[in-house]
Symmetry: C2
Subunit: 133 residues, 2 copies
DNA sequence: GTTCTTGCAAAATATTTGCAAGACG
DNA sequence: CGTCTTGCAAATATTTTGCAAGAAC
C-alpha cells in the first residue's frame, strides 16, 4: 500500500507532509521520533505541523505512539489490516532503537476483582542483536 | 519500616523533604505524581528539590517511576525486600489512578534471535473497580 | 467555495542545571 | 568542617493553541 492510498482509504486529505511522514516510516523497520522523521524528510515543515500530522494519523490508527519512560517518544506504523491487535515493543538500552514485535503475543493477565482491561502495553527492554555483539 | 529507617539503611542523609515524600507515599495505595505528592505535603519545597529527591530515591531503588504514555509520570514505592522483582502496573482510563499489581506475574516473552531482555514493562489499562460501577 | 491544513509566534508544561547558601553527620 | 542538599533563577525540550493565509477537493 502506498502512502497516498492509505490517506485516501482513511478519507484524509493528501498533503505532502502526511505523505512524506508515511513514506519515511514505511522505509524504516524501526519506530522513529519526531526529530528522526524530520531529519529523514525531504521537504521542510514546521514542527507544529508534524505534531498535528502525527495526531491525525494516530487518530485514524494509521500509526501508533510508543513512549519509553520519559526519554523517547516514537511512532510506528500500525498494522493496517488489524490495527487493534496488540503487540509488544522492544527498546534497546544501547542504541535506543524501538521496534514492534509483531510475533510476540501478549497474554491476558489476571486483574483484581472488578477491574477490566481495555488495552495492554508491553515494553521489553534489553539489547538488540547488533548491540549484543 | 519507617521513612527514617529506609533512609538510614541506604545511607542517605535524613532530610525532611525525603522523609516527607516517603511518608506521603507510604500513606497511599496508589502511585503518585510529583504534583500529587506536593499537594499532600506538609512542608513546602521547591519543585527542583522534589525532582532531585525522586532521582535519589529512584537510584537507590526505594521508589520507582511509572510513565503512562506521555500523560502522567507517577512514582510508587518499591518492594524493599525484592527491589528487582518486576511487576505490572494498572492505569485507570477514567480516574487516572496508577497502582502496582504485585500479584500479576509477567511472563517471559520470546524475542528475535540475538536479542536479550534486561527488563520488562507491562502497563494494563482499563477501568478500576470504582470506575466500573 | 468550503473545509481542512499550514506556518508563525507564543504559551504551557515538565524537567534539568549552575551556583551560592545552608543543613547533615 | 567537609560533603551533600536546597532554593532560586534560568535554560532546555516537548508539545499545544490561536489566528490568518493557503491548499485540497
Amino acid at each position: 500500500m502506498e502512502a497516498i492510498e492509505i490517506l485516501n482509504y482513511h478519507k484524509l486529505k493528501r498533503t505532502s507532509c502526511r505523505e512524506g511522514i508515511l513514506e519515511v516510516m514505511m522505509g524504516s523497520k524501526q519506530a522513529l521520533s519526531e526529530s528522526e522523521i524530520r531529519e529523514n524528510f525531504s521537504g521542510s515543515y514546521d514542527r507544529t505541523t508534524f505534531y498535528r500530522s502525527f495526531k491525525t494519523l494516530e487518530a485514524n490508527r494509521i500509526i501508533h505512539k510508543i513512549v519509553i519512560d520519559n526519554l523517547f517518544v516514537k511512532y510506528a506504523l500500525g498494522n493496517a489490516l488489524n490495527p487493534k491487535k496488540m503487540h509488544a515493543h522492544f527498546y534497546c538500552n544501547d542504541c535506543n532503537a524501538v521496534e514492534c514485535l509483531n510475533n510476540t503475543p501478549i497474554n491476558t493477565h489476571p486483574l483484581p476483582k472488578g477491574y477490566t482491561c481495555s488495552d495492554t502495553e508491553l515494553i521489553i527492554k534489553g539489547l538488540c542483536a547488533k548491540c549484543n555483539q
